[in-house]
Amino acid sequence: MTIRPALRMTIGALTCFAILAVFLVGCGTNNGGGSLKTDFGVDTSAKTISLGILTPLSGPVAAPIGIPLTKGIETYFDAVNASGGIDGYKVKLIERDTQYDPQVEVSDYQQIKNQVAMFAESLGTPTTQAIVPLSANDHILVSAATLDSYLAREPYMVLIGTPYRLQVENAFDYIVKKLGVQHPKTGIIYQDDGYGQDGLTGYKEAMACYGLKNVGEATYEATDTTFTAQAAQLKASGAQYVFLTAIPTAAAGIIGTAHAIGYDPHWVLQSPAFASGLLQVKGLNTLLEHEAWVVGQGAAWGDTSVPGMAEMLQNIQKYDPGQQPDGYFEFGYTEAKVTYAILKKAFDNHDVTRAGLLNAFNSLNNVDVGGLYPTLHYGSAPNQRVPSRDNTVYSIDSSVAGNLKSLSGDFTGSCAEQSQF
């Protein structure tokens, strides 16, 4: 049988069209499964629910942050799946390597967005910013591992920790209110990007709240290889407390250089500015232990008095025995707990469509993460959507697991309480 070329073309076009139509519409319908409403990422026959993970698995951010954080999420869901999943549904993670590059993140997002119910992870501020408008258009929830305050405004962003901005405010609350230092001379060194700007905003709010005497502000570029100018500038200003919104290598460079030129103020490190690796450096470890605090969040590693920590350590033994103490692992694990809470609520409502998930998220109110992090709050207005305003000030101690020792306990400063988003 011969088909005339024109006809063959028509048939071909129709076939393509049909495939396209199936692709576009097929997964958009409600395909039963009892009374459970589903759309994307839920396979009712295999009883799985797929979640997307966008994280750097290669490049410089991968080893220190991307990989441990993702392992935290994996470990938690391994445990969930082992105990029967969520209402019998097993969680499947679809992971994509973003290389911490916004463009790659966007293309990763596009690739898998129709395969997943929500994103259980998007790591990084610039990367997450890049998918904010997309997720709003696709009505898809994104759990973001970033503490950037701006993202609290976005209705589809699920945040976990206390934003950077509030970290700074709480740190100075600790210094002024808890330690009783009146009108301390303070300074800040911040990275020349969005992260640094967030820290700077918090610093300025703290100045107004606590009557700080701001004597020095300096900035550095991520590419800088010498920090003498910044250190000398702060030294000349005579600041007693210097806040560092930096990355670990820069924090180390600043503290080391300042010490070398005879300047040893009290350093307060934004949570991402510290990494355990810094303690390997001869000389720097003692400086850090004596002169630096880290402001952050979460139960100290190995503190089994916290039920969530005990559970996490057990799960690590079962599913990821090689894991070293790591704050980012803990973050990922906690993040997964929040994702679980959203999913669980949606399943309870018999609606795991994207609309159903958003609904579940908005009605979540409080999520207890077993004390790993303070109880997290969610809501629909920007101010309610800041999951937590609590922080802990830690000292650095290489003898304890995770290298951080809580000084202040968990608290919310008066300034952070009032901050508007």
């Binding site: 991968a62 020349d192 300096a218 290889t225 003498t228 100018a229 910044q230 070398a260 030129i261 690796g277």
Partner: protein, 299 residues
């Protein structure tokens, strides 16, 4: 005043590092007409190997440095032998690109070891050692950086001036064909150039790593500031590279230290462009740099 001297001193030390990187550029350019965009990664690889040798293999600092030198020199020479040699006569940016290819390979190689973050540098002295004088701290590392740069310059001077291979390299730089005709082994010249460039880069990398306290895979980006240095000094001038490096280091540190006083006017990060602005001004006034030679074009 102490503030100024502190900055100037740090600028000098930083400038010496630029000078060492710039030396590498210039030596390769002079002998083979190639700008090696991978020069910065030699710093990274050198510092990285030295660090791994000290901390993972538990070697003595000097042994670690020796191993680092050995490996980077080997990489440089092998790359020249097995890649660049086939590129002779190709357009300039094909050559630029192939060195960028090497750059990517080296950096990714270091990243892939998974040990490149917050890397402690190999160092023979504590982070704060040095002498204080008049409220200014003269760090031990900075002093050694300056001293070793000086030693490198003198050694290279003697090498080029008085040794057979040095003379061969100079001859090749002036006129390749004539040098060939006079029996100079051009291949050896190229290999030497790459070897020397890799070695000075490694030295620079080790000092730089100590200077920044900890380092990661972005250490090599410093080479970008060596470009203004070589242009400033003149692409083909070895003393020019050194002077250019030091000038760029000083200018950068001083703008960095004083820019906050004029922040409203220049905004943030002005220090990242001052070296380039300086370079552009120089190019407009003296396109061949302060010490470079003017080329006469022929049809």
């Amino acid at each position: 005043m102490a503030y100024f001297i502190q900055l100037a001193f740090a600028g000098l030390a930083q400038g010496c590092i630029y000078a060492l990187v710039a030396l590498g550029f210039t030596i390769i350019f002079k002998s083979s007409g190639v700008i090696n965009f991978a020069q910065g990664e030699f710093l990274l690889v050198g510092a990285f190997i030295a660090s791994v040798a000290t901390f993972e293999w538990g070697l003595n600092f000097f042994l670690a440095v020796f191993i680092a030198l050995l490996i980077t020199v080997l990489i440089g020479v092998l790359f020249e032998r097995f890649a660049l040699r086939y590129m002779i006569g190709r357009p300039a940016f094909a050559i630029i690109m192939i060195t960028i290819g090497l750059d990517i390979l080296l950096r990714t190689g270091v990243v892939m070891t998974g040990k490149a973050n917050e890397r402690p540098p190999a160092t023979p002295y504590g982070i704060a050692s040095g002498v204080n004088y008049g409220g200014v701290h003269f760090g031990e590392n900075a002093l050694w950086t300056i001293l070793v740069t000086l030693i490198c310059c003198v050694a290279l001077y003697i090498f080029f001036r008085y040794t057979r291979y040095g003379l061969a390299m100079r001859a090749a730089a002036i006129d390749q064909e004539a040098a060939l005709a006079m029996g100079v082994n051009i291949r050896l010249v190229y290999a030497l150039a790459w070897g020397i460039a890799a070695a000075v880069a490694t030295i620079a990398g080790i000092f730089l790593a100590i200077n920044v306290t900890t380092f990661d895979s972005t250490l090599g980006s410093i080479a970008l500031f060596a470009f203004p240095a070589i242009i400033l000094g003149g692409l083909d001038s070895i003393p020019g590279a050194v002077v250019g490096g030091v000038v760029i280091g000083l200018v950068q540190l001083l703008t960095q230290g004083y820019e906050s006083h004029i922040a409203n006017f220049v905004g943030i990060g002005f220090d990242t462009i001052t070296p380039y602005l300086l370079m552009i001004i120089i190019l407009l006034v003296r396109p061949y740099g302060l010490f470079g030679t003017r080329k006469v074009e022929r049809v």
